[in-house]
């Protein structure tokens, strides 16, 4: 008999390989479960891939899902860099959407200028939504996971209240939604708007800031070892606060882009769980802003799969269950990567 042997550190490529293996294993288990439930898995998989890549329309749809996922993923990733969890992306997304809707419906000005104003409003809305959890975390050490998450429920209730009450468009008989926001984000190709470009650019900018600026260095140091950062003279609480506000703002921007570019009206359920899936994206990406890009594409395909497969009776819930499974496999795989079978890992050198 041998005992597994835990090694102190592993190489970066081992981490990436483990992550890929975890995702593949979770998808394989998911496929097995779907097969056990009586689905024709190869055909479903083919349909999902066709639904995402087959033609330009499919790619546009995928792009429309990937853009908010990049931003909500980025939002969760920046807090991971400083060792915090922002699970409230869903709420900040809605807060950004609310801010953009209210500004867009109330203020009439030059469209190009207004897009900038709407973007700023969305960012501020998201940042405002995370302000109290961020202050409590930075200065009072109150656990941020629960406070950020609970505000999601508040935001969803608030959106439902606004879209069925004060902001409801009386012209809409069937659905409860606000009037159409009179500003549009220019399109890139077909239905796909420039939100995707903004998202990708922001991911690159944030990656550069974190990697090369003094601020980014301080954030990363505070994330690696908060006490060491404190002794090095870094104002840790201020960095915690700034990182969380930035995170909320990015998620709010995602909400603004979604409501202005894709949905055009504020209504309940405009977020396809983008906030929650953003946490998944960030974890898949290992908290790296550039890693968010491929992770968001993968999550976009999975989410799109749920939409494409609705005709087979597959619902968004099965997709969510599958993403939960992937998350669990990543978490476990991350630890298992540290274990070696001693006989194989190292030969006695004496």
């Amino acid at each position: 008999m041998f005992r597994f042997h835990r090694v102190e550190s592993i190489k970066p490529w081992t981490i990436i390989a483990t992550r890929v293996i975890s995702v593949v294993a979770a998808l394989a288990l998911g496929a097995l479960l779907f097969a056990a439930a009586g689905y024709d898995v190869p055909r479903l998989a083919g349909d999902v891939m066709r639904g995402s890549f087959d033609n330009m329309f499919a790619l546009e749809d995928l792009g429309l899902l990937v853009s908010p996922l990049i931003l909500t993923g980025l939002a969760a990733a920046v807090t991971l860099r400083i060792g915090l969890w922002n699970i409230g992306g869903e709420g900040q997304f809605y807060a950004g959407a609310i801010a953009a809707t209210v500004i867009g419906l109330e203020i009439h000005a030059d469209p190009a200028l207004m897009l900038v104003v709407l973007g700023a409003g969305g960012f501020l809305g998201g940042a405002l939504w995370i302000l109290i959890p961020a202050l409590a975390r930075a200065y009072l050490a109150v656990d941020e996971i629960i406070t950020t998450l609970l505000l999601n429920f508040v935001a969803i209730l608030f959106v439902n209240y606004l879209s069925t009450g004060p902001l409801r468009d009386p012209g809409q008989a069937v659905t409860s939604a606000t009037a159409r926001i009179p500003y549009d984000i220019p399109t890139l190709v077909g239905d796909l708007h420039w939100g995707l470009g903004v998202a990708v650019a922001l991911a690159i900018v944030i990656a550069l800031i974190l990697a090369y600026s003094r601020w980014g260095y301080e954030v990363r140091l505070a994330g690696a070892n908060r006490f060491a950062a404190h002794y090095a003279g870094i104002p840790v609480p201020r960095r915690l606060l700034q990182t969380m506000l930035l995170s909320g703002g990015i998620a709010g921007l995602a909400g603004m882009l979604e409501v202005t570019g894709t949905v055009h009206r504020l209504q309940g359920g405009i977020s396809n769980n983008f906030g929650y899936l953003g946490v998944m994206v960030a974890v898949l990406a290992g908290g790296q802003p550039i890693g968010v890009l491929p992770a968001a594409v993968l999550m976009g395909i999975i989410l799109n799969g749920g939409i494409v497969l609705q005709s087979y009776g597959v619902s968004i819930y099965q997709v969510l269950a599958l993403t939960g499974l992937i998350l669990l496999f990543i978490a476990v795989g991350e630890q298992l990567a540290y274990y070696r079978i001693p006989h194989m890992a190292q030969r006695p050198t004496r």
């Binding site: 109290i132 409590a136 009450g165 269950a321 998350l327």
Partner: protein, 312 residues
């Protein structure tokens, strides 16, 4: 007025029961050092299992049993991941919440919106139920109420603070290395109590769909799992305080119902926000008021930290 107080009290006990069960399970889990953020998912799984069971065999206790067993089973998977494989507890908890809620909603689709085929009926205690106010509020409820509000908190308090096993159990959460050196089986205790705690959360789901609502629909847990986790934190990881906190939240929920029924000027959406907002306030305000209080209610020292025997 008396009618109103009776109604609020009765609803508070009924609504708070979900939180008592969830919070007590989380107390067990956190006292042995494991942060279980999967409560929401466990509740959803428990709730849907109970509903499906009673749809086939209309027997409420049997449905409850199914909820507990499913909670234990999902909890064992979670424990396997965080205690045996020592995976990140936050990640696994979120995974459990997402996977559990998703799975529950997908298998519960065909049962959504229908009333439960069997529920926990109310039983009026002779004579006591005739008392003013408390009579109908306390003594004309399902017998389950007494188990949840009295028997379980007392039993847990006794286990944690009055027995030798309880000392071992808390030692595992405070200083697993020392507990290990003293011969306490750290991994076994963690695995068992995290799993049992998950069983409580499953029961909370069963209670939700068989006694409180009583039916199943998507998102029926509505963040109660998260509120239960928060409750444990600001109750200082103590069974009695957590139970008291659950009662306060029951009152807030009941107040929301009354407000909606009586057409208060406050829009219903804002009344529905109350439990979440109050939870956040309860997590922050005590810390602002007194740092000493915060220390007194401090978390178990090894909470959230996986234990590696070879690294002590």
């Amino acid at each position: 007025m008396i009618e109103l107080i009776t109604g609020v009290l009765a609803t508070a006990l009924l609504a708070g029961g979900v939180l008592v069960l969830g919070a007590l399970g989380e107390v067990l889990s956190q006292r042995v050092g494991v942060f279980n953020l999967g409560l929401e998912g466990l509740m959803a799984l428990g709730g849907v299992s109970a509903i499906i069971t009673v749809a086939h065999v209309p027997n409420a206790p049997l449905g409850m049993l199914a909820a507990i067993i499913v909670g234990l089973f999902a909890g064992a998977i979670f424990s396997g991941a965080v205690v045996l494989a020592r995976a990140n507890q936050t990640l696994c908890g979120l995974a459990l919440t997402i996977a559990g809620s998703g799975l529950a909603s997908s298998i519960g689709q065909s049962y959504s919106g229908q009333p439960a085929k069997a529920i926990f009926n109310t039983v009026s205690v002779p004579y006591l139920s005739d008392l003013p106010i408390v009579g109908r509020a306390i003594f004309s409820q399902s017998p389950l109420i007494y188990v949840i509000w009295i028997a379980l908190p007392v039993a847990l308090h006794w286990l944690l603070f009055k027995t030798r096993h309880g000392i071992n159990l808390r030692a595992v959460g405070e200083n697993p290395a020392a507990a290990d050196a003293a011969g306490v089986p750290v991994t076994l205790i963690r695995f068992c109590y995290v799993t049992i705690g998950a069983g409580f959360a499953g029961a909370a789901g069963g209670y939700l769909t068989l006694a409180f609502v009583p039916s199943w629909s998507d998102g029926i847990t509505g963040g109660r799992g998260w509120i239960a986790v928060a409750l444990v934190i600001f109750a200082g990881y103590r069974p009695y305080s957590a139970t008291l906190g659950a009662f306060l939240f029951g009152l807030i929920t009941a107040l929301g119902f009354v407000g909606q029924a009586r057409n208060w000027i406050i829009p219903p959406a804002f009344l529905s926000m109350l439990p979440y907002v109050v939870t956040i306030a309860c997590m922050i305000i005590p810390v602002i008021i007194s740092r000493r209080l915060q220390r007194r209610l401090a978390a178990p020292a090894a909470l959230g930290v996986p234990y590696f025997r070879d690294q002590r």
